[in-house]
């Protein structure tokens, strides 16, 4: 379901009421929002996808399109695609005849011109109740959670007084009645939810912040930047309650600096930003690496370069995350693939940071960060939380901060710990932490810093691999696009294509063995991602012999990839293999 209107229409708020009611009833749901670039009062839209099964992605073409006015609707072009299966509902006030709607090249299944504004004024005396009318239409035509929607309205307007509540309820019922009086030619009602019990409804940024606090994060340093700011905002509301603190610093450099200071002082710490802020943090990231200090850095990716597309998702900061560093640096990069697994990935980021004494980059993206998603209640007892290895009393008798150990992990002290005094530094140092320019020591320390991270590459639990291990076709995808690929994988499998799917949480370092094994049976496939260059694909090729038949399917951010696109490409790749000459060619080349 996709809807668009002007800022004041409250169309996004209608979407929120709808998804909240659905979550309460136990539906699975996902909602993405999109706004014009005006700070206030611009056009806005949202998409809500509801299902009785898990929702993997925001979906492709719309089943229901709602336009409060056509100008605004059309501004969202690719984000609100209408097909021959779509039911289109629009405000008749626009004066457009149902046969004349300004959609090029498609004939929607059904089109309704509804006096939405007029009904709002009739019910509530104001246009402002248009969104309640829309909710009524949705409930009436598609049978979605009418009771829970009214319940939601009750909660929402409780503080604003009984009059406003009554007016909105009237508007809702007017919409509902209108729908009943004008039934769809082909009725489409949602089936009741299969699982009862209400779900959580939240977005990736809030989940990330909450999971960080769960993991024991006690310090957050930040600087506002879309689309990461909600992480800091969550911290400013919550972290004090757990003995922590948050600083809105003067810039991204200070925010990572303060977080690193907190880590030096022995506390779990985090900072969050987006691409441009990440660029500023680079120098101190290097400091964290050489000083071997745990730190979690969140980059909620948006379209780039530079200011780029601040409100749109893209997966184009992977090169930056992996390679933006002076010197030889290896820092783990983790990417969540949904709002739900943002929790697991965030906890994991802290665990890896603490265990290996390293900065960890959590590479989220605008979609996961800001889309609302239903999530089953979380049993927090399933997590383990790792703390950095502290020196023992014996270690402290002749303490060497960067002691050469077999696994490369040296016990780490912090100010306040007697006998653990050392000099943290950005300069190369010996085991005691004293500055050195010795090539020998530098090589040994580099080796140590790389050695300690080697076991990460064997962490199979940081990969989601589905399908027959011997399948000849493969999909690899990461971040928010992984949800698209998961649906594509299910569809292709249903079509009888022997395909398997690999989704990494650990994006870098490249787990060579795991990919080698995965690609062993593969003859054709796609690495699917939202960037111009296909950054994951290229990084994989740096480290792994990616089979020739596996190609990059990369599309610039803000141009959504649909599961159907992926399936079509995969089918084409499979077909190409079956045509005899090329199949032979590939066989002998392999």
């Amino acid at each position: 379901m996709g809807m668009a209107g002007s800022g004041g229409d409250g169309i996004v708020s209608a979407g929120e009421s709808l998804i909240s009611a659905a979550a309460y009833e136990g539906y699975h749901a996902m909602m993405t929002k999109s706004f014009g670039s005006q700070v206030r009062g611009g056009e806005s839209s949202c998409r809500v996808r509801l299902s009785t099964a898990r929702v993997q992605n925001p979906g492709g073409t719309l089943d229901v399109a709602i336009a409060l006015n056509w100008e605004d609707f059309l501004k969202f072009g690719a984000e609100l695609p209408v097909s021959g299966d779509t039911v289109v509902i629009y405000d008749s006030k626009t004066g457009v005849e149902p046969g004349q709607i300004p959609l090029v090249g498609v004939t929607p299944k059904e089109v309704f011109a509804v006096p939405i504004g007029e009904m709002a004024r009739r019910a509530a005396g104001t246009d402002k109740a248009k969104n309640s009318v829309v909710l009524g239409l949705i409930a009436g035509w598609f049978g979605i959670a009418p009771g829970s929607i009214v319940r939601g309205l009750n909660k929402k307007f409780a503080k604003k007084g009984p009059e406003l509540l009554a007016a909105n309820e009237r508007a809702f019922h007017l919409g509902e009645e209108f729908a009943k009086e004008h039934p769809l030619a082909t009725p489409r009602a949602m089936a009741p939810p299969t699982s009862s019990g209400s779900k959580m409804l939240t977005d990736g940024n809030d989940m990330c912040a909450a999971a960080a606090i769960l993991a024991g994060c006690e310090f957050f340093g930040g600087y506002p930047i879309t689309p990461s700011t909600e992480i800091m905002q969550f911290f400013t509301r919550e972290v004090w309650k757990y003995g922590g603190a948050v600083v809105q610093a003067e810039d991204e450099i200070a925010s990572i600096g303060a977080a690193l200071g907190a880590s030096f002082a022995g506390k779990k710490a985090m900072t969050a930003t987006s691409g441009p802020g990440m660029a500023l943090k680079t120098e101190i990231l290097g400091l964290a690496t050489i000083a071997e200090l745990p730190l979690v850095i969140v980059n909620v990716q948006r379209g780039g370069p530079s200011t780029g597309l601040p409100t749109k998702p893209e997966q184009s900061d992977l090169f930056q995350a992996a390679f933006s560093a002076s010197g030889d640096v290896l820092r783990p990069i983790l990417a969540p693939t949904s709002v739900a697994d943002t929790v697991d990935v965030t906890v994991e980021a802290f665990n890896i940071a603490e265990h290996y004494q390293t900065p960890v980059i959590l590479l989220s993206d605008q979609e996961i960060a800001q889309r609302k998603e239903t999530v089953d209640p979380i049993d927090t007892s399933r997590f383990t939380f790792i703390e950095r290895k502290r020196p023992t009393a014996v270690d402290l008798q002749s303490y060497a901060r960067f002691r050469m150990t077999e696994d490369g992990i040296s016990p780490i002290s912090h100010p306040g710990m007697k006998g653990g005094n050392y000099q943290g530094a950005g300069i190369e140092h010996n085991e005691q932490g004293n500055p050195t320019a010795s090539g020998k020591v530098h090589a040994a320390m580099n080796a140590k810093r790389f050695r300690k991270l080697a076991p990460l590459q064997r962490r199979r639990d940081l990969f989601r691999i589905d399908g027959d291990p011997d399948a000849p076709f493969a999909l690899v995808s990461w971040g928010s696009i992984a949800g698209v690929c998961r649906e594509a994988y299910l569809r292709a499998t249903a079509e009888g294509l022997a395909v398997k799917l690999l989704v990494p949480w650990l994006v870098y370092p490249v787990a060579e063995e795991i990919y080698r094994e995965f690609f062993g049976s593969v003859r054709a496939g796609l690495v699917v991602e939202a960037s111009h260059q296909g950054q994951l694909y290229r990084i994989l090729r740096m480290y792994v012999d990616v089979p020739r038949g596996v190609t990059s399917f990369a599309r610039d951010g803000a141009n959504p990839i649909q599961p159907g696109d992926v399936v079509a490409r995969l089918r084409a790749a499979a077909l190409a293999l079956q045509s005899p000459p090329s199949a032979q060619q590939i066989a002998c080349e392999e």
């Binding site: 909240s20 309460y24 209400s198 779900k199 959580m200 409804l201 939240t202 909450a210 606090i213 769960l214 006690e218 310090f219 340093g221 919550e238 004090w240 309650k241 003995g243 603190a245 600083v247 610093a249 003067e250 810039d251 450099i253 200070a254 600096g257 303060a258 977080a259 690193l260 200071g261 907190a262 880590s263 030096f264 002082a265 022995g266 506390k267 710490a269 120098e283 101190i284 400091l287 000083a291 929790v343 999530v375 927090t380 007892s381 002290s413 912090h414 100010p415 306040g416 007697k418 006998g419 653990g420 005094n421 050392y422 000099q423 943290g424 530094a425 950005g426 300069i427 004293n434 500055p435």
Partner: protein
């Protein structure tokens, strides 16, 4: 004698001196500064492991390594944010920050104002030699206008930053200046700065013997310095302090320019208060996700 019944300090200056031998140029003013710091720390008597000493990059920024405190010789210009993070995360630590004039007022200049307004209880010591020492003699933000250096062949065109006025203008509650030409005075102001509850700033005129101007050396300081106390300056008078600070670069005043007689609460104190109030109604960490349930 006045000291005979004073209790023996648990720590002596030498307890704060590390084994590491300074690589500063012989004669560098920073030798005096580190000595003064040892003495100030001894007078205060906190054990070295309870001290975190943060610096940026520069000759002067080597200083934490010459102490036995926990040190963090970080990156150019970023000592203040790191130090504030340390202090906020671990309020019980004594946190010192030190560095050069370039580190503090050029690349890191943007952080100073915010360190002042955040008012964490840390002490910032700038070793102001009006030059970039470590990179061998380029113009610094405190270099006097017209100075000839390797990056100002024909004399610099910019006015100097006035560090004293800068921090005073942002509302710093403790501002002092010292020079290694007066070691006792230097140790004294550093000690007073550390004891001050809140952000404190000490500008040390610490000559660079290798790239500094001849008339900016210790000998000159000794001849020209004027003690603010002897001038009868009232250190609780912020406006008078600002008036005197205007003379930066022309006259060498030593001692305390301004010390707020009624220091406002530090950021750590405010944080603690907030933590106490909010933690009372907090669900346990394990229930942090409950808020997202649609009820």
């Amino acid at each position: 004698m006045t000291t005979s019944n004073a209790p023996l300090p648990t720590y002596q200056a030498k307890d704060y001196k590390s084994e590491l031998k300074p690589i500063w140029c012989p004669g560098c003013g920073d030798f005096g500064v580190v000595q003064a710091i040892y003495r100030a720390l001894a007078a205060i008597g906190r054990p070295p492991h309870e001290i975190a000493f943060v610096s940026g990059i520069g000759c002067s920024s080597r200083i934490p390594g010459y102490t036995t405190a926990y040190g963090f010789n970080s990156v150019h210009g970023r000592a203040l944010p790191i130090a504030q993070g340390i202090k906020i995360a671990s309020p019980e630590l004594l946190v010192l920050v030190a560095g050069g004039d370039g580190d503090g007022f050029s690349i890191g200049g943007g952080h100073v104002a915010h360190a002042v307004r955040r008012n964490t209880d840390i002490t910032y010591i700038v070793m102001d030699n009006q030059i970039y020492g470590l990179t061998k003699g380029q113009l610094s933000p405190t270099s006097p206008k017209g100075l000839h250096t390797v990056t100002s062949e024909y004399g610099s065109l910019e006015e100097a930053v006035n560090p004293l006025l800068y921090v005073l203008a942002y509302g710093a509650n403790f501002v002092a200046q010292g020079t290694p030409a007066d070691m006792a005075g230097l140790a004294e102001v550093i000690e007073a700065a550390i004891r001050f509850p809140g952000f404190s700033f000490v500008n040390v005129q610490s000559p660079c013997v290798t790239f500094g101007e001849d008339d900016q050396q210790v000998k000159n300081h000794r001849a020209t310095m004027q003690s603010l106390a002897k001038l009868g300056h009232d250190p609780t008078d912020r406006l008078a302090a600002m008036g005197l600070a205007q003379k930066y670069g022309k006259e060498l005043h030593t001692g305390v320019f301004y010390k707020n007689p009624d220091p406002p609460p530090t950021m750590n104190a405010l944080i603690k208060e907030r933590q106490q109030v909010l933690s009372e109604k907090a669900p346990p960490r394990s229930r942090i996700f409950d808020r997202f349930l649609q009820t």
